[in-house]
Amino acid sequence: MACLLEAPLRISVLSEVTATSRHYVDRLFDPDPQKVLQGVIDMKNAVIGNNKQKANLIVLGAVPRLLYLLQQSSSSLELRTECAVVLGSLAMGTENNIKSLVDCHIIPALLQGLLCPELIFIEVCLRCLRTVFISPVTPVQLLYTDPTVIPHLMSLLSRSQRTQEYITQIFSHCCKTPEHQTVLFNHGAIQNIAPLLISPSYKVRMQALKCFSVLAYENTQVSMTLVNVLVDGELLSQVFVRMMQRDQPIEMQLTAAKCLTYMCRAGAIRTDDSCVVLKTLPCLVRMCSKEHLLEERVEGAETLAYLMEPDVELQRIASTTDHLVAMLADYFKYPSSVSAITDIKRLDHDLKHAHELRQAAFKLYASLGSNDEDIRKKITETENMMDRIVSGLSESSIKVRLAAVRCLHSLSRSVQQLRTSFHDHAVWRPLMKLLQNAPDEVLVMASSTLCNLLLEFSPSKEPILESGVIELLCSLTQSDSPALRVNGIWALMNMAFQAEQKVKVEIVRSLGTEQLFRLLSDPDSNVLMKTLGLLRNLLSTRPHIDQIMSSHGKQIMQAVTLILEAEHSIEVKEQTLCILANIADGNTAKELIMTNDDMLQKIKYYMGHSNVKLQLAATFCISNLIWNEEDGSQERQDKLREMGFVDILHKLTQASDPNLCDSPLFCVCLSKGINESAWVSLL
């Protein structure tokens, strides 16, 4: 019963509300233009700050009528202006409001309005457009559909401070792709906006600055142009430096630092320039400090990570600046235990930013530790750092997981850390879990980290092997992504290095010769190299060589022939010749070469190759074949002598004469412990 009673009541309230709203809309259709104007003004006053009223009016169809009035040339300027004001007010409401407005084609209508000569009308149109475009629900492409819009907006920049503020704000929100950057750049965005950086209005300066930050992001053309721009006789970079002064608003400091960061990353400013080392970097480090807003700290850390990513010197400087490494530890303390009890609002805020903070910190740690061993040590020694990474690897947010694994990868480049903290914290476990089911970008990072964990000296290698990693890696080699294929085969290569026979057998079995040979013809040279590396690692120590060659000898010899005959880089050929040399080291495997005249001819060819590396590898191969102390060495020597290897060896020794000791060949022989008698007998 209660329900029945309540329902009509609610309807009546709604109808009452819509009735008053209806009245506003009805007045827009009055035949008397004066009354229409008054109606619009009343509507304006009714909607300000009233989201419900806004929604009602939209539902009741006020928007098309307002747009009609706005576009009607018979409407008075005042009416058109008031219409735009009301529309702007409606746009200030919820995202749904914006969607409705966009659906009603408000954008073309307002853009059309910008052609009006009256400044006041242009300003309200721009204001409304600004509100619509800064909403995430508006497709930015709408700004670029009509090619005349951007140039017209550029020309309006000189009209007033308001047009400057709104237009630059629109630009900075609608410049999302390199194409957008190019369009704006080609229409003179830089020349038109640069003078606004010294505008007396803070808002204009700020929006202009934001514009430059989005224009310069990963854009060499823009960045290169920016460095040469003068604003009132001052270089733009100096203007940015001034905007980073510590008494400026944080937003301005941060955005100016972004501009310089992007210009630096695009190669327009050197990384050792004082405006980077002494200004931008310290400014960004400051942004990471506790006293700033969480959003600012996130942005600061991300920008800093981006700035120093490729430059070890900047990484070193940042690592000593203002205790940055320790400062970042604070990023993991949200939501703090205090906020949970005392302040619900704060808790909510903290929760919302907690993920962002963590991922930003991981990113920054990753960047800091990507090159310098001391910095990595400092990072892993930070309170609970490894635990944080480990738990970060299994967080629900993909962003955090990715950043955590990036951080782990960066730290995994350290032999020392692999041996100590990585093992102590069993990081392989969450890492393996992460590999089971993750998007490609996470997989790339995770598998790359795994490669390092599988290095011979890593104590994690054993437990990883036991966890059935081989299957997983083999499946990675079948991925469509070259990066994943490389990482898969790379990890297998590392795993096979000086491995026990059963591991090697397991790898070959699991991978399958078919897949192995498919990889040998992989279009990605990295994959090829690592596959050859895997082969080489598999074919080490005599029993292993003989065993593998006895089962797969034919295919391997075939693949080697193919590679040596095809067009490949020196490195690939060298690696292949090394495989051959390993085969020549086997007891029974030797025969696969000795019985293959074609192969011997190839070796002979490479001994006479102009590239020393290839000469060495080929000679290495021969020296293994003629090894004195082995069975049948005499016969092999004879055969090789017959085939004319003596001449080529003579040439080699003569080339390196009179100082045989200095010749690379001799060095190789010595290093292999080859007794000279073998050579002598051959010669």
């Binding site: 510590r246 008494d247 080392v277 002494l278 310290p282 400087i317 000593t320 600046t321 203002d322």
Partner: protein, 631 residues
Amino acid sequence: MAELGAGSLSLGDPAFNYQEHELNERLKRLYPAVNEEETPLPRSWSPKDKYSYIGLSQNNLRVHYKGHGKNHKDAASVRATHPIPAACGIYYFEVKIVSKGRDGYMGIGLSAQGVNMNRLPGWDKHSYGYHGDDGHSFCSSGTGQPYGPTFTTGDVIGCCVNLINNTCFYTKNGISLGVAFTDLPPNLYPTVGLQTPGEIVDANFGQQPFVFDIEDYMSEWRAKIHGMIARFPIGERLGEWQSVLQNMVSSYLVHHGYCATATAFARATETIIQEEQTSIKNRQRIQKLVLAGRVGEAIDATQHLYPGLLEHNPNLLFMLKCRQFVEMVNGTDSEVRCLTIRSPKSQDSYPGSPSLSPRHGASNTHLHTGADSPTCSNGVTPPNKSKSHSGTGSSSIKYPSVSSSASSSTSSSPSSVNYSESNSSDSTKSQPHSANSTQETSLSLNFRRNQTHVTRSSNHDSEMEIEAEHYTNGVVEGSSARIMNGTYKHEEILQPDDNSIDEGCTNGRQLCGGNQAATERMIHFGRELQALNEQLGREYGKNATHKKMLQDAFSLLAYSDPWNCPVGQQLDPTQRESLCSALNSAILESQNLPKQPPLMLALGQATECVQLMARVRSGSCSFARVDNFLH
């Protein structure tokens, strides 16, 4: 400081002078709140406050190690000449490592006076250091904490002391390394310590530009503190504050007698002025008179309008009279001026007196009772008074040309004759003029007086401008017109004697306007003043200030040109200002109004407070300067 230096630069060296100049400029810019007379800034290492293993050179800026350097027992430190003043707010110095020597065991930091110098900074209580060999920070302890990178030859290490939150951070090659120490005690000295042979470091206390942008760091703190002041929470009392501020402005305007502005302000802010308009105008008029040098009239007016005021302030009265005497010498006081002006027009301009003499006569009984009120009450002065009356007019006999103003005068006092004789050198000098044409001299004096007025009004532009209307409209019409339109009136007066202006002008100033009668009157007045002083001495005990004042005033007569004598400063019109405000304050106090405008009180309090902050070592005073808020 320079003479202590054993380095290549000497005091006369232009390079050194340049460096010294740059140092002074930089220190002034960085630490504007520091009063170096109270708390000098460190400018070099102290040759006295160091261990013997330390050698100094290059104007005591370069430090080198000259011990054995076997172990930590051979460590040696040196302190700067002075501790860091708290008023710096933020203090910074840099040290460049010229050579790391054998092992690079160098410590840079701070220590209090008396800390053992046979140690590196940081090892002992009240000693703090950052060491180059391991990059550790030492906070009053033999064991360091990991702090920053190591440093070595070629590095520039900076040390910044934040006296606002009592922390310290270091910089390396212009990069901040983060906070090293907190809760620092006050009065620390910049300190460096070395331990192995070959170690050499150079200090930069501001002689050169710093590698680290310290001014940028300071600007952040300045902004912080200004923000703190600007955002000072006033909570519920917003409205209250507004009315307080309005009252402050209003009372300031009233205090200084900016009548129209005050009324307009009150109307706009809907506030009420405590004092009546006429009262404001009266005070204004009296102030005008004092500022114009017409102290006698001011005294008369005060006694007329505020009977009993001066009786209760014998000191003030004495000061006024002293000033009156000085103004007589100056020739500006009405008692002497009236003798030198003979144009009826100028007399007309005196308010409330149909002619000069009746004015004296008529107002005398009343005014003089007031003026001499302290003496009156004792019943001693009356004879004096009558004397003075006769003296006032006495000069006119000798100068019949001076018409109506002199008419009431009787006989000249013998003393004045004596005086002019004793000052024969003076009189002879001025004789040609006074003899030839008294008119001219008097006119020239008049002219000069008006000139003085012009300068005064330009000094006090705003005051005068604002009042202009009132005067012409208002109460003290005559006299105000004189003041404001002096030049114009003067021209009128001068018209018949046009040709003599130049001569009069170039002639310069003369005692009492060069008028004999006036001089006599002045001498007479001087005697009265002397008597008054004696009487005050009897009643209230000897007053050294009065004695000095009197001496100074009388000393004027000892010089042929009082304006260019060692005590001539007294004749400067600006000297009237303090007296003027004292009188104004006294009047206000007598009306139960604040003797100082609350605005000035607040300003003074704030300034004093900031100075106090410096003394109690609160560093934020450096960035909370009152001038920063006065635009």
